[in-house]
Symmetry: C2
Subunit: 651 residues, 2 copies
């Protein structure tokens, strides 16, 4: 038996009598969270506070023993839920003192549910015949020249290519001609040429490289995503479609500004643009260097680099003044960019490696989003799909094979932990999960990496707010219920707040709180996104219910607890199985376009089809926004499941 | 009256009773040469030897007085012919002592006759509608973007271009996009774009530059000829067709080798290729710098640079390994070169300036020759034309609108003064003209710049040898007549020679001689060229008489005394008016292609049509060569006029 196959364990919680299936090795506290079972826990899962004591009634767990438990307690089966890891099927009793009375056991929030992770099936691409990279290698054996036949090398090569296949409109470059004479004579007139297929049938085929001998088996591409925060690259084998290496790093431009606006401002000063261009190229080269080192692949075999980034990142990479992106009426330099030699902008690839850049739709719907649309194939489907990439800006695309509408809304950085008093990036110590005891109002805190809490990350914020709303701790305006009997809700500096973790249990030695300003920011953020979707749909005359499917992209999407997002009114009510998470959509698109030339053909039409709406210029947007400034929404009817749960709780 | 209009003067020589029309200001000695009248003169025309005394019988001359003449002589009208300049119609008597008796006065060689200089008529190009440069500027006034219409800058520009004219397949570059956002906003959305017309109708138009405001009136090109010895550039106004500035300089590569073979050998070592590339670019930049300084023209308005050079010069400019050009089977890297940014190879032009390079036919028939063919329009004419560019290599093209055959033959450097004991380049002090007294065998020497003699230039060599042959000083094998009564013919180091100038009358203080080895070299050179022509014609089944017209190109052609060239058997017998000299054909072609886009279209077909013959691989060549190793030829019947003169002399 393969052990790794047998990792599903059932955990049963008493007295709730609720079962959940988890992976072997998961902690009991995460199992409890998944089951919606509250266990007091304030230290984030580090075994420090000792509050999360539970008793193992059947089965076994690994670990969970701590100095907080004496040997008699351990003997009885007591463990700390944050330290105990599931080994097999197990039954766990939440002790009376850390539980709630039976009457509230049914007041449960929906179980945690994240979007299913969707991976592109490159095998089916192959079967559909779409797996035809923009570059191909062709091996040629030529007759050596002699006195009777001493035509130029290029003429000989082209003749052979035209013999071998129907390459009739061939273009080549000076650097290619420079290589040719020596390479052809290196292995007795046997050589491999790299051809860039035309975008459309009948177009010109560009010859970019020539290598001695038969190198058709080693043809690679780089897929590159340039994010404002992080840069990722993958090395793709163009023969098999596999990713042979991948690395990411922070975009070195971060030192010059956290977001696109501050970068643009920096670029406007003196040599700022050149500096930012150089810095992001340095990041790219660092990442590529690591990939090459790790895979041992020769740079000469990298034929293309496909690049996706938002409009600002793209313009900065290409050293195109981004000034007009941040000034009304927000005009980007270009939609489509021509292919160019990657080396010409400093990317450490051989002279022949061709850079293909994803087009931009507008100043705030950029190549990263277009890449996501291309990577998911959204533009080919009948189903009406909402594509959502949430960061500081949220980009929204709605559409199907017939039409595509898009917009960007300034969600603010709440989902990235910004503008929140104790907000932080999703890093160890960030509170990422939460429950609250409906009697004692004590929290259950789980942090990333099970470390002592340092702050709240975006998805944690979403969960905390949703749970608080469902449990009546905050109302639909994000105001705390002043009547609850707990010292955790308090007013400080005239602002109401809830203490998530007392100072002594934190890493930062200050009370970690969530206050009403944080909640206001969160509501503004989710309101902006939801009303953005509503407005786009209204512009095409459709209601929110028309959406068949949601695709979440970006780092944030993977952590979103879908039901919580619905509870808050960030996402419309939709079955979880109709929500897919694609991870880094930009990188996915870059990889897809490295592998299938059809993307280059389709992207021109898709970009043309993507109707961009500037929300600030769409009159209905402000009304929709105001209506969305409640949890979940002014019109609760848009969220029947949430409404039902609220009514159940009230009963 | 405009004085400059009235410059033709008639000079009558007595006792010969021969008249010649010269330009006002010409010296009497050059008038005499032109008339075929011998005047003893050995110092080259510097008034040193005093041998060229003549008497003015009617009219006046300026100058000609020297310490060699006493006042009584001057009073009588005596002057030194080398110093006296024609002021008006004049009658001159050659004194008895420096003349010959009447019986030989009729033994004259044909008067000096150079090819007529042909200039391309750019006005007629305009009228034919061919004056349509590869680049054009188009002025656009765009609607500024606003909130309702904030399409990308490129999209706006292209929209306006498509409104204005039928530009439908537009291509652009990253550097262009880089300029666009700022330039469009510099003069309120009024801007001028530079477009590179497609080579063929229906092809893509490339947008290379954008400038604020209306700059359509300032659109310039550089025409560049890269010769092995010299580099020339012209600045061409693409609106009027005029040449606004021109400069030339020695190709800096000369320090690394005088001819293409030594350059190729240098390029094969270490960083040799890179060095030679850098050095020729430095020469180009020096020349361009001078032109820009002189004309005050802004580099930003230079839209193209059209480049013509031989195959080696072209490959060195583009840093393409030239090694295989000098090794059998003599294979060039490419025929056609794609357009590229001139700045990318270091040429000091703005990033947008597009370089267009003339194609190469073979290793030894290069872009300079193709440029000459394009510039003369030879490929469009019905007449069968022989195009001849003589240097170390002579390139020969024969053909018309239906077919073109070409070859190169290694003429050796005799015509450039190389391989000749006292050979030198055509520079001041070089003997360029010559007559010989058929009684005394004393020479008449005229040098370039009327300086004391230093050596013999190529055209001087041709003239000396032809005169000597016609006067019976040498026989048809180039051997001196040992029987002549003159101390000027002597044997030294076992080699027969003729003393052209005694040491004391030279600048170099050595006897300047022409010896039989020099004559051998000359005969080999002319024989190679003539037999090259014969062989090409034989390959297409035509006799030499089929040639309707000769076009001479290259520095040498302008000085060739046509009748002398025919006498020697370098050129076939043809009326002088059917010989045209085009000067620097390479530069002419470069200029033409800067001005008329049709050249780019035609050149592809012309290059394809130009059938190259490797003489070494053409069996009949060696026979033809051997037959041509006599003056004028083994078959004197091929030169009936020469034959007749020889017979007249013998009688």
């Amino acid at each position: 038996m393969n052990d790794t196959m047998n990792t599903a364990c059932t955990v049963k919680f008493l007295p709730h009598d609720r079962e959940v299936v988890v992976e072997k090795g998961d902690t009991l506290i995460r199992a409890a969270l998944q089951a919606g079972v509250h266990v007091n826990a304030s230290c984030g899962g580090g075994g420090v506070c000792g509050k999360c004591r539970v008793r193992i009634e059947e089965g076994t767990v690994a670990g969970g023993v701590s100095e907080r438990l004496d040997s008699a307690e351990v003997e009885q089966g007591d463990r700390l839920a944050c330290l105990a890891r599931v080994e097999g099927d197990v039954t766990v009793r939440i002790p009376v003192e850390s539980s709630v009375d039976a009457s509230v056991l049914n007041q449960q929030v929906p179980p945690r549910r994240t979007a299913s992770i969707t991976k592109v099936d490159f095998e089916s691409l192959k079967e559909e015949g779409l797996f035809l990279a923009p570059v191909e290698k062709v091996y040629l054996e030529m007759t050596p020249p002699d006195a009777q036949n001493n035509m130029p090398d290029v003429t000989r090569l082209i003749g052979e290519l035209q013999n071998k296949a129907d390459f009739h409109k061939l273009e080549l470059t000076i650097p290619f001609i420079r290589k040719l004479p020596v390479v052809l004579r290196e292995d007795e007139w046997k050589a491999t040429v790299t051809l860039v297929r035309p975008v459309r049938e009948g177009g010109k085929t560009l010859i970019t490289n020539v290598q001695p001998g038969d190198t058709t088996a080693t043809n690679y591409a780089i897929a590159l995503d340039i994010g404002t925060t992080t840069v990722y690259a993958q090395l793709i084998d163009l023969t098999t479609g596999s990713c042979l290496g991948e690395h990411g790093d922070f975009n070195g431009q971060i030192s010059y500004g956290e977001d696109v606006i501050t970068r643009i401002i920096y670029a406007e000063k003196g040599e700022g643009l050149q500096t930012l261009q150089r810095v992001v190229v340095a990041t790219i080269n660092k990442i590529l260097g690591r990939i090459f080192k790790e895979t041992g692949i020769d740079k000469d075999n990298i034929s293309t680099i496909t690049i996706a980034g938002n409009t600002t990142m793209t313009q900065l990479l290409l050293a195109i003044n981004p000034s007009f992106l941040r000034r009304a009426p927000y005009v980007p330099a270009a939609t489509l960019y021509p292919p160019f030699n990657a080396a010409s902008i400093g990317i450490d690839l051989d002279e022949h490696a061709l850079a293909l850049v994803f087009p931009q739709v507008s100043s705030y719907v950029g190549g990263d989003i277009v890449a996501g649309i291309m990577g998911t194939g959204l533009y080919q489907n009948e189903e009406l799909t909402l594509f959502l990439d949430i960061g500081t800006n949220a980009e929204i695309v709605i559409g199907n094979q017939d039409w595509l509408a898009c917009t960007a809304c300034s969600a603010g950085p709440a989902f990235e932990g910004g503008g929140i008093e104790f907000g932080m990036r999703a890093a160890p110590g960030a509170i990422e999960d939460f429950l609250i005891d409906p009697i004692t109002w004590e929290p259950m805190i789980v942090t990333i990496g099970d470390k002592r809490p340092k702050g709240i990350c975006g998805s944690g914020l979403l969960t905390i707010a949703a749970i608080m709303f469902e449990m009546g701790v905050i109302n639909n305006s994000g105001k705390f219920n002043r009547d609850l009997d707990t010292d955790r809700i308090r007013k400080r500096n005239d602002i109401w707040e809830y203490v998530l973790v007392w100072a002594e249990e934190t890493e930062i030695e200050r009370d970690i709180v969530l206050n009403e300003l944080d909640l206001e920011n969160l509501i503004r953020a989710k309101g902006a996104i939801y009303s953005g979707c509503v407005t786009l749909l209204e512009e095409v005359g459709l209601p929110m219910e028309a959406i068949d499917r949601i695709i979440l992209a970006g780092g944030f999407g993977s952590y979103i607890d879908l039901e919580k997002a619905i509870t808050l009114g960030l996402l419309p009510e939709i079955d979880a199985e109709r929500v897919a998470y694609i991870g880094n959509g930009s990188l996915l698109g870059a990889r897809m376009s490295a592998l299938t030339n059809r993307i280059r053909q389709d992207v021109v039409d898709v970009t043309r089809k993507m109707t961009n709406f500037e929300l600030s210029e769409t009159p209905s947007y402000m009304n929709n926004y105001v209506a969305a400034m409640f949890i979940p929404h002014t019109e609760i009817e848009q969220f029947p499941r949430v409404k039902e749960r609220l009514e159940a709780r009230t009963r």
